[in-house]
């Protein structure tokens, strides 16, 4: 067993850390959040130039052939600075589905993603099905030789900026994954801000006509490809949460050392010290499950599903504890929008709600 990151992985971490230090302080981030696109196009261009957008893709598709370990390195560092660029939706989620499909234009779509000129978002959630994403009402129907798409999808990350959407739908009572262009007839998009300042949207499909090529996967293939995407997405947001927890406890330690009340730094008070120790412990425990899940995913371990659920539960619980303690120990400053600390709590809350919340994954774990 070897649980050390390679030199190459450490270099990647250094690179992201440096980028965030230079380009991603709290004020930079605030400006990005209020911009029209909700992310920085300049940053995205740099992500492309630095090769980050190529990280998970296979060499034959123009990628670096890196795996989950490198993704978690990226996301952990993103989490520390609360990076909002749509890496999860455009690279991880869409990339997994596109690369796992037999789409005739697969290589060119991936090339465009890697170059940073193209965004693709996966539309997997619906208004009334909760976390049972495969039970979707959105339907692909076949009429003579043409396919058409009807229904609606919600909570589509980065929806307003996407050039293409991958839609999870039902076709003849089994799952289907289809890809459509953003400007296709019969599609309407409505965008919302998310609780943590990012964007998501709702898609409505009215007789959107599909070519046979736009069907990426059907039946069992679609289901396993979708589940693979979910597992990897959960891993990535968990790594992001680990980074955010690390920043939260470190910022809290720093703040309590500087904040003086009763003529001394409040870090002198044991009750606060123990709270910060709890934050640290939860962060380390989350990191452990994150690394376990990463290695299992990397080696296609059949046990990975259960570990992913365990990880998502730990992320939900630890994120809440760390986020809430961080706010509490910052006092009034913690609930002020002008301080970064409350934004970590928002991100933990958003992460817990995505891809199955804590309770959902407790139940999923038990049924194994």
């Amino acid at each position: 067993m070897n649980l050390n990151y390679s030199d190459e992985q450490n270099m990647l971490r250094e690179q992201v850390l440096k980028f965030c230090e230079t380009n991603y302080d709290f004020i930079d981030r605030e400006k990005i959040l209020v911009s029209d696109s909700g992310y920085s196009k300049d940053n995205w261009k740099q992500f492309a130039e630095l090769g980050w957008l190529a990280v998970p893709f296979k060499e034959e598709n123009g990628g670096f052939n890196f795996g989950p370990i490198e993704l978690t390195v990226l996301f952990e560092e993103f989490g520390k600075a609360l990076v909002v660029e749509p890496y999860l939706s455009s690279v991880v989620m869409s990339g997994t589905v596109i690369e796992g499909s037999n789409h005739p234009e697969k290589v060119s779509i991936i090339e465009k993603i890697i170059s940073g000129e193209h965004h693709v978002s996966v539309a997997y959630a619906e208004p009334n099905i909760g976390y049972n994403f495969l039970d979707c009402v959105t339907t692909v129907s076949k009429d003579a030789e043409t396919f058409s798409l009807n229904g609606s999808k919600s909570l589509v990350l980065n929806a307003a900026n996407a050039n293409q959407y991958i839609v999870l739908a039902t076709h003849e009572n089994s799952p289907a994954l289809v890809v459509i262009d953003a400007d296709i007839k019969g599609l309407s998009v409505h965008s919302f801000k998310t609780l943590d300042g990012q964007t998501c949207g709702e898609l409505t499909f009215e007789n959107v006509s599909l070519t046979p090529e736009s069907i990426l996967a059907l039946g069992n293939d679609a289901e396993s490809l979708f589940n693979k995407m979910l597992d990897l997405s959960i891993l990535c947001v968990s790594a992001e949460a680990v980074g955010a927890m690390t920043s939260s406890y470190m910022k809290t330690v720093q703040y309590t050392k500087e904040r003086e009340q009763f003529s001394q730094p409040i870090s002198n008070f044991q009750v606060l010290q123990h709270r910060m120790v709890d934050m640290f412990i939860e962060t380390e425990l989350t990191k452990s499950l994150m690394i376990k899940a990463t290695l299992q995913l990397d080696s296609d371990d059949p046990e990975v599903g259960n570990t992913i659920s365990a990880l998502k539960v730990q992320v939900g619980k630890a994120g809440r504890l760390v986020g809430q303690h961080a706010v509490q120990l910052h006092g009034g400053m913690g609930v002020s929008n002008e301080m970064s600390i409350g934004h970590y709590l928002k991100r933990f809350t958003a992460i817990d709600s995505m891809f199955g919340n804590t309770q959902y994954h407790i139940n999923k774990y038990q049924t194994k």
């Binding site: 976390y131 609606s152 919302f192 009750v271 009034g332």
Partner: protein, 390 residues
């Protein structure tokens, strides 16, 4: 011992209920509360004027100052009925905070000048306590008031001032003397918010709302007859005020109503996991409610529960915060699209349950409850010192 309410108490409860359901209740307030939309300043004024018109405004004041003189049980029942009728909270700043300080420590002229306007809600008060450098350690406050002829000249700043943007007056703790013991140089001053030299700047909280403010004082001239009691005794008055605040601090009636709402939601989805968590919260609430009743009973007997009321603050805010977590859990992933204080842009609401966005707003907003009014850590220090004697 007797757990039941008297016949008169129950009749009193009926009267309050009938009054709140009556036609005089401001329709604008009722409509917005039912929809869950935020109340404007005018809505709040209308509501308080209604409460005053019913003769209930001084619900926790003695008769001689225009109050109802109600017993603790009546106050308890009254607050319960307000919550059941989905009323907003009666603002505490004038009625429960500065009012009792004025009628207990103020002179006759001050009583005549300020108390009627508080009862009629002609003046909106805010509280000038916390400062950037003085939160939990409030007594270290630095805002300075220097006597110059008939006026105090005030310089400094206050922070986390709730609804200062609406306020006509602020009651402030100011430093009138630098003393060996920091508590001794503090005085209690009433300041007209329209006085030149006062600047109010909004602080936006993590839910996106504008509820609290920074208030800056630059050479603000305050007539010396707006000093309450004696110079240097402000800390004593502040402590008195904190003790007087205990009515309703636990927030039990509001939580009860919210729990029923959450139960309706979970029944719809038949969510057994969430139901169990709600049950646990109900049990916690039951213990807290009866603790509050014990406190009220002690007051009715003429007792002065002190540090025990810290239990109500600690557990009450814990339960309120837990409740917001359960609403967020019930909404699941649909909390993601977030409605700002101005509502969703272009008035289009996202898919998912309508309580989702308010749930997450409340969750974020209620982080304040374990911080304000003496953080829960400070409350535990009070219990440790005053009750456990350690």
């Amino acid at each position: 011992m007797d757990i039941s309410f008297s016949e008169q108490d129950l009749q009193f409860q009926e009267e309050i209920r009938a009054g709140l359901n009556g036609s005089e209740f401001p329709a604008n307030v009722r409509e917005k509360r039912e929809k869950g939309t935020a109340l404007s300043k005018q809505d709040m004024i209308d509501f308080h004027k209604f409460i005053h018109a019913k003769g209930w405004m001084g619900y926790n004041w003695p008769v001689e100052y225009g109050g109802t003189g109600w017993s603790p049980v009546q106050i308890y029942l009254f607050l319960n009925e307000l919550a059941l009728a989905q009323c907003p909270t009666i603002l505490p700043f004038g009625l429960s905070m500065v009012g009792p300080v004025i009628y207990t420590f103020g002179n006759q002229e001050q009583k005549d000048r300020f108390l009627p306007d508080i009862l009629e809600f002609n003046t909106w008060w805010c509280q000038g306590y916390s400062e950037p450098g003085s939160g939990s350690d409030l007594a270290s406050l630095k805002t300075k008031a220097v006597l110059d002829g008939d006026n105090y000249i005030v310089n400094g700043s206050k922070t986390w001032t709730t609804l200062a943007q609406n306020a006509d007056w602020i009651f402030c703790l100011v430093r009138t003397e630098t003393t060996q013991k920091k508590q001794e140089g503090i005085s209690f001053l009433l300041i007209d918010m329209n006085t030149p030299g006062i600047e109010v700047k909004p602080i936006i909280t993590i839910d996106g709302d504008h509820e609290v403010n920074s208030v800056f004082f630059t050479d603000v001239k305050v007539p010396a007859d707006q000093l309450i009691g004696e110079e240097g005794k402000g800390w004593t008055y502040a402590k008195f005020l904190l003790a007087h605040e205990r009515f309703g601090i636990a927030g039990v009636p509001v939580v009860k109503v919210q729990i029923e709402k959450l139960k309706d939601i979970t029944a719809e989805f038949n969510d057994a996991d969430l139901s169990k968590k709600i049950t646990e919260l109900e049990i916690d609430l039951e213990a807290l409610e009866f603790t509050e009743l014990r406190t009220l009973a002690a007051i009715a007997e003429g007792g002065h529960p002190g540090a025990e009321s810290s239990i109500l603050k600690i557990r009450g805010t814990e339960i309120q915060q837990r409740l917001t977590e359960l609403f967020v859990e019930a909404a699941g992933q649909y909390i993601l699209p977030y409605e700002g204080p101005e509502g969703f842009e272009s008035n289009r609401t996202p898919a998912g349950p309508d309580y989702a966005s308010p749930a997450v707003a409340q969750y974020l907003n209620y982080r304040k409850t374990s911080i304000y009014g003496g953080s829960n850590e400070i409350q535990k220090n009070i219990i440790a010192k005053a009750i456990l004697g350690v």
